[in-house]
């Protein structure tokens, strides 16, 4: 009986110690992603909702814009980039502190958006007429 009591006290103490240490240090034993939020509090929806549903919001907007031509919706990928691009790198990608990459690296969820979309805010691409146009311009009728 005494042994059981001692064991229980021991376990409780250990748990209490862990909780206290965590609370004092302000961190849990689980590593968390480091996110820099450049413009806090200005998002289109509360943080919890964004964390859970941002992919559905983006997909919904994507289909409405791409297929129906609806513009100016509340949520947009370019809107995300304009607000969340890192002030250091100008991008939402590039380091594990940058907005999109930080969580997605942490959660090991592949980001396909940036294969086609531009991850830098206010980016202006240079255009060069393809060098091959001279050769393709020779079509004769």
């Amino acid at each position: 009986m005494l042994r059981t009591f001692r064991l229980a006290v021991g376990v409780l103490t250990a748990v209490a110690a862990l909780v206290t240490t965590g609370a004092v240090a302000g961190e849990s034993r689980v590593p968390k992603p480091t996110i820099t939020i450049e413009n806090p509090g200005k998002c289109v929806a509360p943080v919890d909702e964004m964390r859970r549903n941002h992919m559905d919001m983006l997909k919904h907007t994507r289909d409405k814009t791409m297929r129906d031509g609806v513009r100016g919706m509340k949520t947009s990928l370019n809107g995300c980039i304009e607000c969340h691009a890192s002030k250091k790198t100008g991008s939402v990608l590039g380091s594990n502190e940058n907005f999109c990459q930080s969580c997605h690296t942490y959660a090991a969820v592949k980001l396909d958006c940036w294969d086609c979309h531009q991850p830098k805010a206010n980016y202006k691409a240079k255009g060069t007429a393809p060098a091959d146009h001279a050769s393709t311009a020779g079509a004769k009728q």
Binding site: R62, D63, K64, M66, R67, D68, G69, V70, R71, G72, M73, N78, I81, D115, C116, H117, Q118, K120, N122, Y123, K124, A125, K126, G127, T128, A129, P130, A131, D132, H133, S135, T136, A137, G138, A139, K140, Q141
Partner: protein, 260 residues
Amino acid sequence: MSERNHTEKVTPPEGASRRNFIGAVAAAGGLAAIAPGIHLVQVSQANTPPRPAGEAASKTVRWGMLIDTTKCTSGCNDCVKACATENGINETVKDARQGAQWIRKIDIKEVKTGRSHSLPMLCQHCANPPCVDVCPTGASMKRADGIVLVDRHICIGCRYCMLACPYKARSFVHQPLTEQNPEVPRGQGCVESCTFCVHRVDKGQIPACVETCTKQGHNAMLFGDLNDPNSEISRRVAQVTTTQVRADLKLDLGVRYQGI
């Protein structure tokens, strides 16, 4: 190209060149009518009001383009360059045959008479697009206002549409891209083609090629709503003979050529 080839016949007053005459009319009249129903391109290329936010593209609109080959000069590449700048086409390809084909200049020649033309060839934005017919995933699509697009989100890069297109208007991106413009996403593994600068049209602007052609004073390209009888393009196609390339295919093209 000689200005005498224009379909718009104008008799200038004696002692004044045609150009000066038009300039004077434009300055005096504001709405520069040079013949009944025909207006100067410069005046007509004013932008339309942008579609309000949240409103879908309407099927009451049919965007179209009229290309006046009598004004298009061989060797002029301004529309191609404008397209590349607007759409962030800047990659170098290993094989010239893999290059982007959003818009290209071609020279054609009537064999018997020797009459030659130069014209830009781009996606003709068919009303019955073969690329949409053959697409196995539904990525090739026609928007309600007649603009034919590739939905890259579901394009699997099979290139069946490239084979189906009679105009060779589509191309495939072979290499990874990083220099896209934010409004024009494009990337490896997808087929792409002219979008009529859909991001600009939705804002009430005209496509970059048409804008540049007009700004440079060539005035060979005209963009507008073919369904609106009062639009400049509708008036022009009602007045002058225009041709659909490969009209025998009955694809009902959005792009028409004048003078070929």
